[in-house]
Symmetry: C2
Subunit: 445 residues, 2 copies
């Protein structure tokens, strides 16, 4: 098989050269042993086998011996500022957790709090190899500010919900439009904005229609919750006489730019409608287990051609943003759910966390795989660890054995965010201390 | 509440003093903030609040600021030498995996291979905070050798199975008796031996009776597989006209010294028989999901008073020995299985991995909790990490957010095995390299 690097004829300049590493490109091509990756500006300029690296002159050379390079992980559904609530209200039933614990705290949130929580989340993601995430929350411009500072890539969705107050819905939609105008495409394109209508049981069909119109006219996508709990699915059906997906289809809401999180309770008809409109899905195995909502049966969706990425959900219901943990859950939950160990092979689990995740966010031409011309979003995993030894199957080692802390180097948009586990542009101690203080203050405010 | 340290009157000598750390004693007592732990010889001599530490003079003082001390984790079921097969034969159905992948490789295993694999496993456990494990495998004296060198505590069970050959069963039982005589109580009591009859479908009732007699006369326990797969449960019922547990009860096999791994397919009657004889259970959530065997419903057992610990199972079917991963799976799998988020609270999950695990191995008077007079088997977790911030609930942070790599210090039997993540008595690079070579050699042998 011919890689870009094999055909390099003369000497070439690059900003960063990673040499002598194992590369899992995740674009359908096979593993490159002793490969190199050259980065020029914000893009991957060449990928190839070791011999090709000699022809490249780079400002910065990184030795990749014993390291495995993969695309940066893509977290398809979270509420990142909820790091502030990590570990609050454990082991409660959903109604108590929402009504007595989370919502009263969220009502007290100020913009600075969201920034502090989001920055802690960004730091956690950098340290565990996530380079891109899809967020949905209030005061999302503060999340944008944190993402810009941290250097990550993100698809941010300002939350929109009525919960009985149409005025509230209109106001949040207007604010969302402002966030789109201000932040969409900012930070060298690292930040994009979507609308975040919360769910069909908290937004009326008329509001959802307006959201759809705004999204289409501004050419941005939509990120929402769908079919997360049996109770809410039944409530919607009772209220409108239609299933959630039927309702959304009936108002022309469903298009390929819709990312739907959870999707646990879908009928076969609903799955077919999802597939017909190429709606994308975020699978949140850990949060769905923790809140005991149920299990998304992925094969049923994938067999219809639906794109599925993995989301951690918010750190209050996970309780981390470490995609390595969630990849393992993502695969194993499917195996036991279908009672079939051949379901969801390791390579497919890593695909969901990289290239399929990028596709779910509409970023398939930008990131998600390692190939010439794509944005340089990648991570190096240190495989010289007891739990990653021996290396019979690097995919299995990554999905089943690795931890976020095995990630040594993180590059986003051609910029090194972490090297040798040292985060470059954030003061770790300060970020942690500030978020801790804010979290404690919230409890006593 | 009065802790040992509060009542220290004069100055006291210790070998090791850990001061200013948060202590989760796991013995029913509450969290000690700013506590100290003093170790004299192989035992905890005093635990108390910060003020008490001033009265203690120690050879070695460790600063515990930002660290959380918990009992060393107890892995109740593994086949540790199978690190050699980590990542071999992924995503295969059980029959193919056993017949085509694992058994042919195991048939080639020599004593030195088992030692190399076991030592790698011991290294991995030290680096992820496991201080005690229950193993079952062939050539178990090589595992004993590795445990002795690594400094861990272990309950080792030489495997016994007939699989159609009574002579083989007799031979393995004899070898097991030899291992008991040679190793039981060795390494300052760190190593104990049990008999490891594989399962009711691979050992005849007559062999199992002999194993029971040998165990009782030598005063050692038994570690076996039980009710792991529906297929084998049905096979046994067809063969003997009794369920597995009924069969074992009928031959007088069941006593409190029996540790049964898996126990997925038990009837209510079988659970009651287990409880009546105080049989202990090892729950292996990750391996059961990975091989798609099913889900052990723990509440049904615990409501009857059965002691349940957590096992990783062998690294070929997990694929790590990192108990932090398995604690999270242990808790979340129960929540989604019962569709109840209040099931298996975080504190209970940590209890299963420490004090209940110790009880499952008959070591409840020796290890499993932090209290005066118990053996000094403990770990310090560095909480100054983004994913462990803020610290609203240290139990939740440990069970849901921490990784093995957050463990900074490991002490077993009063000896420091790891400090600042540096393993004291093993050459990490050498252990990994040797196991890698052995694993590759096995594939081509």
């Amino acid at each position: 098989m011919l890689y870009g690097g094999d055909s390099i004829m003369g000497s070439l300049e690059a900003d960063i050269l990673i040499r002598d590493c194992t590369i899992l490109p995740m674009n359908g091509r096979e593993i490159i042993e002793r490969g190199f990756i050259a980065i020029k500006g914000d893009r991957i300029s060449h990928i190839g086998r070791a011999s090709g690296a000699q022809k490249i002159k780079a400002e910065k050379v990184m030795e990749g011996r014993g390291r495995v390079a993969i695309p940066g992980l893509v977290n398809c559904h979270t509420h990142v500022a909820m790091t502030l609530f990590r570990g609050i209200g454990e082991d409660q039933d959903l109604n108590k957790w929402l009504n007595k614990t989370i919502w009263p705290l969220e009502a007290k949130l100020k913009p600075g709090d969201v920034y502090d929580g989001a920055l802690l989340g960004c730091l956690e993601m950098i340290k565990s190899g996530t380079t891109c995430f899809a967020d949905m929350y209030f005061i999302e411009d503060m999340v944008a500010k944190a993402v810009e500072k941290a250097g990550l890539r993100a698809v941010l969705a300002p939350g929109i919900l009525e919960a009985g107050s149409p005025e509230r819905g209109e106001k949040l939609l207007k604010e969302g439009i402002e966030v789109v105008r201000k932040h969409h495409g900012s930070a060298n394109g690292r930040i994009s904005i979507r609308f975040g209508p919360h769910a069909t049981y908290t937004c009326s069909p008329s509001l959802l229609k307006k959201v759809r119109e705004a999204a289409s006219s501004l050419n941005v996508g939509i990120h929402m919750h769908l079919a997360e709990s049996r109770e809410m699915v039944e409530l919607v059906k009772e209220r409108y006489g239609l299933t959630e997906v039927e309702l959304l289809e009936s108002i022309g809401f469903l298009k390929p730019d819709v990312l739907a999180a959870h999707c646990i309770y879908l009928s076969e008809e609903e799955r077919q409608i999802m597939a017909k409109h190429d709606v994308k899905v975020a699978y949140n195995p850990v949060a769905n287990m923790k809140i005991a909502q149920g299990i998304l049966k992925i094969k049923d969706l994938m067999d219809l051609g639906v794109t599925v990425g993995i989301g951690t959900d918010g750190p209050a219901s996970n309780n981390t943003l470490d995609m390595f943990k969630d990849m393992k859950f993502a695969a194993l939950l499917q195996k036991v759910c279908y009672m079939d160990p051949t379901i969801m092979p390791v390579k497919q689990a890593l695909k969901m966390a990289t290239v399929d995740g990028a596709k779910a966010l509409g970023l398939e031409n930008t990131v998600g795989s390692l190939e010439n011309g794509k944005k340089a979003d990648l991570i190096l995993i240190n495989f010289e660890k007891p739990h990653l030894t021996p290396r019979h199957d690097p995919y299995a080692n990554i999905v089943y054995s690795a931890c976020g802390s095995d990630v040594e180097t993180v590059i986003v948009d051609g910029t090194i965010l972490m090297e040798g586990r040292e985060v470059k542009n954030l003061d770790e101690g300060e970020v942690m201390q500030k978020a801790s203080r804010t979290a404690l203050d919230l409890l006593t405010r």
